[in-house]
Subunit: 413 residues, 2 copies
């Protein structure tokens, strides 16, 4: 087993070689990777079958086994993902700003790769190719720390795409960590100087481990306790379709809705309707005392419900007195991910959008739209729920940094 | 003594009030602070005199006592700094990008304040007003953790500028930590959820403490082991004036030059000249073996010299075989701050600017230009030497984050 440090050193060295590749060379590499992936389909699927078998033997959840399982169609999707990334515009080299100082000094701020990007993720082999594609496209080496339960699948995928490289020193730009012991996460996030950014893609516990131990800069992703506030003036048909979409379409994802806040002036009129619609779609509704006085059949919401990311067909409902109360509740319980208002009132919409602190604030639209694909980024590396460097869906640009290039002709101060 | 947590909570609450201020209201506040500072000059200077007296009694260095000492002129300068910040354009609210998706969803990426910004700094009372000015301008609360040796001065300054606020709850947006014990730095950088960004402005040891213990995102600033590479094709008059400027004009700052790399083809011709010029300005020159074979009177550079940020009238010299060798040396020893090439060769300049990884790469200009003022930012919060969020001189924009505002009309996926 190679050490984490050794693999990070290989990645760092290889990145210098990647730096000399033009955008079209990198795109050719990505397309070749897609071809290699398809060419190795049989091998990947058989390795994956062993991971799946072991996961079932270990009594893993159906959801985990489903995410882990590869099929020929899913593998085609992964290859298509690499080709899609190849077709995107390369942000590297673009000039973000450029000006000339009064003394004639020319200053340009240019996008450059971050260097070495680390990804820590769980049993999702499709993340392996997504991360490789996005990182190589932006000239970064990538160090993948997948879960031990997906190791065989990940290794087969990485071995396949490495076939696209003609030089083994450059191929070092993709590293799948051999060390998948639980404690290796802590060691990995302390590779300061070798790794420039680490992105944990997983549950709250993984993110907490990274925040506590990381010396490498990290970006938090994915925890979403998202709210929808239905204002007094809301179009109630819009409110209903938005709530149903945000809860039911895909409840297991971070941009699904967990709590609805309903203006007291429409509670009597609207609450029975939305509860019945939700129940009709097998959603369990848990309400505050005031909500339960309107719909007494509702389950009771305990204090902890307001802070729970259910990721399931459960939703909490609270009656609030005003948009200010809704904002106050979101400040107390939100996770800075995506927060929505359904309203037809200009002032209330203005207040909500300016006062709610979140990666995305939505007006009369489902929280499910906060997604790289829906934003038109083509691909995403997760949704950042913190404020530094990247906020919201992370696309290619968020995998770059900037460098100032300052040109003079013998200039001194 | 109030606890750190309590003061951070006050700052967070007050920031919500700051959020409702328009740019012109914030600017009026900054100008009122400048007036308050001048009105309290007598009190500030007398408190400062006590800090200075104690520092001298404690045998602090002349440099520290100089940085600590306030004079009426320096106080005027600090007030002028606040007025200058008031005159800058407010980045808050500016739309960074905005587009409409094919489904009609409107997406805007808007600049918003970070929230609560923490600054950890050493005995420089002028940083107190700079940090306050930049943070309030951008709608952020600021929590100042100055050094204990400057506490009386800082407190007098903060008390003065707080006179500009009419409401005490809003005045809580400026917090000077009561707790200046050494160990309070560690507690402060773990105020995750209350503080959004912490910026250490100080030496390598402070920065290391922050990196090791912080759970709050932080930005490294200020360590600069900067190089100037003199290429074979360099205009040697430019090289000389750039080196002298970068070493001598202000040796104690992070963008001064610490090592010069000289192409072997011009070593015999150029080295005696630059060494004599440097010696003539009291600069001690330490050379590698090859350099000393050309100028034998030179001191010898040990391995540790290549990694030393002298911040003094000392410079190291190394002879290199090519631009690639120079890049290699900088990769080994640079601190990602500012790196310069003096050259007249197109290919070598291209190689150097593309291959050197640093906040700023300079061509035929002194490293001393890497500075917020020289870049035209009006004021700066330090120079970031890391790659996330901000790189290079940090102005107002770097004290903001982004928020997506997504507007639909009942849109669902």
């Amino acid at each position: 087993m190679r050490t984490i440090r050794y693999q990070c050193e290989l990645a760092r060295r290889a990145q210098q070689q990647l730096l000399t590749r033009s955008a079209s060379q990198k795109n050719a590499l990505l397309r070749a990777m897609a071809d290699c992936l398809i060419a190795s389909a049989e091998r990947i699927l058989s390795e994956n079958a062993m991971d799946v078998e072991e996961a079932m033997r270990d009594g893993q959840s159906v959801a985990l086994v489903d995410r882990l399982t590869l099929t020929p169609a899913r593998l085609e999707g992964m290859a298509a993902g690499l080709r899609d990334i190849a077709a995107l515009t390369d942000p590297v080299g673009s000039i973000v700003e450029g000006w000339v100082q009064p003394n004639g000094l020319q200053i340009r701020q240019v996008r450059v790769p971050l260097g070495v990007v680390g990804i820590i993720y769980e049993a999702r082999p499709n993340v392996t190719t997504d991360a490789i594609g996005l990182c190589i496209k932006t000239g970064n080496s990538v160090v993948l720390r997948g879960s031990s339960s997906t190791f065989r699948s990940n290794q087969a995928i990485v071995n396949a795409v490495l076939g696209a490289f003609s030089e083994s020193t450059e191929a070092d730009c993709i590293q799948l960590l051999d060390d998948t012991r639980r404690e290796s996460v802590v060691e990995f996030v302390q590779m300061k100087g070798l790794v420039d950014l680490v992105i944990p893609r997983g549950g709250a516990q993984l993110i907490q481990t990274v925040i506590t131990h990381a010396t490498v800069p990290s970006i938090e992703t994915g925890v979403g306790n998202c709210h929808i506030f239905v204002d007094e003036s809301a179009d109630l048909d819009w409110a209903t379709s938005i709530i149903l979409n945000a809860k039911v379409q895909r409840p297991s994802v971070c941009n699904s809705c967990e709590t609805i806040l309903i203006h007291e002036a429409i509670a009597d009129r609207y609450l029975p309707r939305i509860v019945s619609e939700l129940n009709g779609r097998n959603v369990e509704v848990r309400g505050c005392d005031r909500a339960r006085s309107v719909v007494p059949t509702m389950m009771i919401a305990s204090d902890s419900d307001w802070d729970t990311e259910y990721l399931d067909l459960i939703i909490a409902v609270k009656i609030v007195g005003s948009v200010a109360d809704a904002v106050h509740h979101i400040r107390q319980h939100g996770t800075l991910h995506s927060e929505a208002i359904v309203s037809n009132d200009f002032e209330n919409i203005s207040w909500f959008t300016s006062q709610v602190d979140a990666a995305a604030v939505l007006v009369n639209a489902s929280t499910r739209f906060v997604d790289g694909g829906e934003f038109g980024f083509g691909a995403e590396m997760g949704i950042s729920t913190q404020k530094l460097h990247a906020r919201g869906p992370m696309g290619l640009k968020e995998l770059t940094t900037m460098k100032y290039i300052v040109v003079g002709s013998g200039h001194v101060r």
